[in-house]
Amino acid sequence: MKPLKILYVEDDQRSAQAVTELAAQSGDTLVWESNGSAALLRAGMEAFDVIILDRMLGDIDGLTITKRLRESGIGTPILILSALGRTSDRAEGLDAGADDYLAKPFEPEELLARLRALHRRSSGREHSAVILYGDFECHVKARTAFRQNQHLSLSPKEFELFRYFMENAGEIVTREMLLRDVWKMDFDPQTNVVDVNIGRLRRKLEEGFATPALETIWGSGYRILDGR
């Protein structure tokens, strides 16, 4: 995984410390700013791969920072990491111009997965007509899937799931990302509906093959394997 250069704006020192450690573990470079005006200055001078913003800061709040950055033409992907975690709060964040929104407390893996997905989206490495990864082929336009050149018979929803995994090949995909991007739901229904749907897709991808297709990352999500 390519290390990311992250700007993190957070006024709570302990939260900052936890995320800094997390970034260090995954080999990313993290620059921490504790207030909004310093962060705006910094983001104007240096280029970052992603920006993580807290909402309730001492001086300028995260939503205002987001708006100002977008107004001044800075398109760096922004993830808002906030204690305001209701769906209405998320909607506000996205309306202000943020690209993703994660509520505290969060799974460390969830944050890392989302930062990578954000970076990937912004660097435009997707939307090709055919996505290849290991044994798998995903024909986006024809809506067909193959493993070792064998056609996989997937339902429309299963295909969408498969395509999402293929677009994020090699990376962790979390339940919340799946709910948001595949089922357009901005909250977690308190049941195992996602896991069950993944289970069904997994069976279709693995039936008749010796090696697993999907890996469960405990506590956070799934990752598609190359199938070899």
Partner: protein, 453 residues
């Protein structure tokens, strides 16, 4: 302003126009009557003077002279005034003198007077008198000359009236437009109570009743706004102050887990993390319920969306897990039903109802979702053939922290996870959208219905 199809001001202006037209017509009619009466009065005086003169002549000079004088008068056409007309006859009715064609229907014995036709077209005032036992006389004066005058009066009234009514309409329209602007200022502030809208309400204009109403509205709206802001700030602070320490606690647990504890310890740590999750979810649900209740009837933030597509998406999401848990799950969704609301909130209503159904319905049971539309709007039902909700609990099932203790399901419910807030939240969201979430009275199972009340 265009959204008032029946503005009171438009109606007032048209009303004033109609009223002034009516008044003008009334005034014209009165004038017309007065003029006519005056002219008739003139004719009456002339007739009476004429009769007095002729009676005098008859008394002094007798019948022959009278007939002669009448003939003389008929022969002379006066330069101005009205032409007099006569009819002198004996009791047989034969005309002795005069120019009227026949005796009018007037009784000479009582000196009757009245309007009679003269010639083919005009009218005149006439009086009949009995001069002696065998001689009677009618004197009439034509009133044809009054027509041009009355026409002139009518003409003046028509032109003057048109100008007057036009002026009333114009001035009324101007005054109404001004009033309408002032009322609209209040309405605009109610529709969207922004800071700008509220501050314009504070500027006095004429110091009249409307200004007072404006000021009161502004103050009331500002109070509501402040309350909403205070409510928002408080709930944000509350969320922040609870979530932040929980996040720190969670971070510690993650760290402890990363140090590779043994099975039982790890299990306890994982459970502790799950408890934190639940606590956060309970907090969120409570805040969502409060916010939905506070925004009941508030149209802000509502957008039209494809409800059919949303319901289908969620049904498909649950289909797999229903199969897994051994439930018969089916859905009947009418396509193309759109609804104005917050999509995520309505998804939440459906997922909460489905979570609830799958939680309480035993294995092998049926759960069915149906979406249709009637005249009032969409109707969404989630029904099952599970244990149902006892009658005495039906009114309380939507209360916060109420958890069903249905007989037969009671062993199950103790183990069923959940905050006891799902239905309360669904109910609050329904109300916020002007919908009602009710539980139907069914002989068995439970049927939840979301529709306009």
């Amino acid at each position: 302003m265009s959204h008032h199809s029946r503005s009171i001001f438009t109606r007032l202006v048209w009303g004033a126009g109609a009223l002034s037209t009516l008044l003008l017509i009334g005034l014209w009619w009165t004038t017309h009557q007065t003029v006519q009466a005056t002219l008739e009065g003139g004719a009456r005086t002339q007739v009476d003077i004429d009769i007095a003169g002729l009676v005098d002549i008859y008394a002094t000079n007798g019948r022959e002279e009278l007939a002669q004088r009448i003939a003389d008068r008929v022969a002379v056409i006066p330069m101005e005034g009205n032409t007099p007309h006569y009819y002198l006859s004996d009791n047989s009715g034969a005309r002795l003198a005069g120019d009227l064609a026949r005796w009018p229907s007037l009784d000479p014995r009582v000196s009757e007077s009245g309007l009679i036709p003269i010639g083919e077209t005009s009218q005149g005032y006439a009086r009949a008198v009995q001069l002696d036992d065998n001689l009677r006389l009618v004197v009439a004066r034509g009133m044809a000359d009054s027509e041009p005058l009355l026409q002139r009066i009518g003409f003046v009234f028509a032109i003057g009236g048109a100008v007057l009514v036009a002026l009333v309409l114009l001035l009324g329209r101007l005054a109404a437009a001004r009033l309408q602007r002032r009322i609209e200022r209040i309405n605009a502030a109610f529709r969207e109570p922004t800071q700008d809208a509220l501050s314009t309400l504070a500027e006095p204009q004429d110091g009249d009743e409307i200004d007072e109403l404006t000021a009161h509205s502004g103050a009331a709206l500002a109070r509501v706004r402040n309350l909403m802001e205070a409510y928002r700030d408080t709930s944000d602070q509350l969320a922040h102050e609870i979530r932040t320490p929980l996040t720190h606690l969670d971070n510690r647990l993650v760290k402890a887990l990363s140090e590779g504890p043994k099975g039982a310890v790890a299990q306890k740590l994982i459970e502790a993390r799950e408890e934190i999750r639940r606590l956060v979810q309970t907090l969120e649900s409570l805040l969502d319920i409060a916010s939905s209740k506070a925004r009941k009837g508030d149209k802000a933030g509502l957008k039209k969306f494809d409800l059919s597509a949303m319901v289908l998406r969620i049904c498909e999401l649950y289909a797999g897990s229903a199969e897994e848990t051994g439930h018969q799950f089916s859905w009947q969704v009418e396509g193309g039903i759109h609804f104005e609301g917050e999509e995520w909130q309505l998804s939440r209503v459906l997922t909460n109802l489905l979570d609830n159904a799958f939680k309480y319905v035993p294995q092998g049971g049926h759960v069915e979702v149906a979406l249709s539309a009637d005249a009032t709007g969409p109707v969404l039902t989630v029904s099952d053939d599970g244990p149902g909700v006892p009658k005495d609990e039906r009114s309380r099932i939507f209360e916060r922290f109420f958890r069903g203790g249905a007989e037969g399901a009671s062993d199950q419910t103790d183990q069923v996870p959940g905050s006891g807030l799902g239905l309360a939240l669904a109910h609050a969201i329904a109300e916020r959208h002007g919908l009602a979430l009710t539980i139907e009275d069914t002989p068995s199972g439970a049927t939840f219905r979301l529709a306009r009340p």
